[in-house]
Subunit: 224 residues, 2 copies
Amino acid sequence: MGRASRAQAAHNRARVVAVASALFRAKGTENVTLAEVMDAAGLTVGAFYKQFDSREALVDEAFALAFDHAATAWKEVRRRSEAEAPGELAALARHYFRKRPPERSCPLLAFSSEACQLPRDDEAAATYAGGVAALFDQFKAAASQTAARAGAAEPPEAQVLAQFAALIGAGLLTRATGSTAWTRRLQSAVIDAMAEGRHSTRAAPAAPDSTLARRRAPRHSPDP
Amino acid sequence: MGRASRAQAAHNRARVVAVASALFRAKGTENVTLAEVMDAAGLTVGAFYKQFDSREALVDEAFALAFDHAATAWKEVRRRSEAEAPGELAALARHYFRKRPPERSCPLLAFSSEACQLPRDDEAAATYAGGVAALFDQFKAAASQTAARAGAAEPPEAQVLAQFAALIGAGLLTRATGSTAWTRRLQSAVIDAMAEGRHSTRAAPAAPDSTLARRRAPRHSPDP
DNA sequence: TGTACATCAGTGAACGCGCGTTCACTGATGTAC
DNA sequence: TGTACATCAGTGAACGCGCGTTCACTGATGTAC
């Protein structure tokens, strides 16, 4: 086959990262071999080490790309739901729970195990933490925007944090136990909690379970 | 060494499961070898297949034991905090966030990745789902008890579900990103949300962040 | 613009290591008489 | 209770396979003149 042009090589490298990122999200980092990645990218294993120092380096880049994609998707959801009732936050939660192909599952969840057994000073660990922070920033902005639209004051940080934790927790539980009647109720509960904006200074009524979420988001499985 | 007595063999088998359960919780199922387990149990690898059909079978039993231990610990926390203010639920959350040795980390989190890539009809997957259900039952009972003590009506299921999701989510985020100022605020926010019982029919005031949690639970890392 | 040569992206096979599993063997335990 | 034999928990080495990594080789690309 001979040498590839510089442009071609750069293109190939990017494809390897993209393919790896998708495979890692879908099957978990540890369940994907380099041969599998290179095969999916249309290359042979030997070529890998011409572009990357080690498997570890690829994991780091794949993490970064996956979080970028997820954050971009969240941004897009926010943009599309700007004018929607009951607000961006509930829209984000509905998006998060929407069923999607495994290769687009939430990187925060897909990589969490890997992240927590990484040495503290590992690059990939920092990339993961940065990715989580970026997603939370999106979430927080959506919460602010939702409150503003409702004419309420900026939501207290504690409320936003608890809502974010609930979103991620429900995603994890759905992912780990599979979609059931219970996980659907779990998701509806989390979506409702977003829609309520319970701490809003305008004394949001402690409404009984809205049926909104149940109508709109009967889907499952976490995502970006 | 020769043959061990039936009682000794049963004892050995139980020790293998216990040791495996602890190691799996601490390091993740996939990062522990059979040799490591048998070594820790004071036996050699060859003996393993006299007691278990396969590694998979051990994983299933280890899951069950870990969830049993966790559920028992939750029960104990509930018993000890029965008379406490602001209630069992917040006590459970404080317990959940308390720093502990890795071999006692929350099985729901420690095994979540493994669980979600298991075939749907796998025994271990069912054991995992059962374990999650058992922990949620404990949580729900604590929520009921907390409401009853406060003279409030039975909390709506949606509230309990969202609180449980928040607990697990905060645990996951702490585990995956390591303890930071952000994760401590996250935990405090979740604990406060428990203490508030925001949906209680007695119109709980939408209090500003209580400082209670911040005083009492400045620890980290999830657990049983 | 052409020519000669060095570079290096990609190939495909081989290496080395770790891990789950198997197996022949040992000798105390359990059982039948 | 004692004796003879079958059972089988535990041993330690070997097997087989998969995977990350290395390496000699190829030939188009890029560069120097």
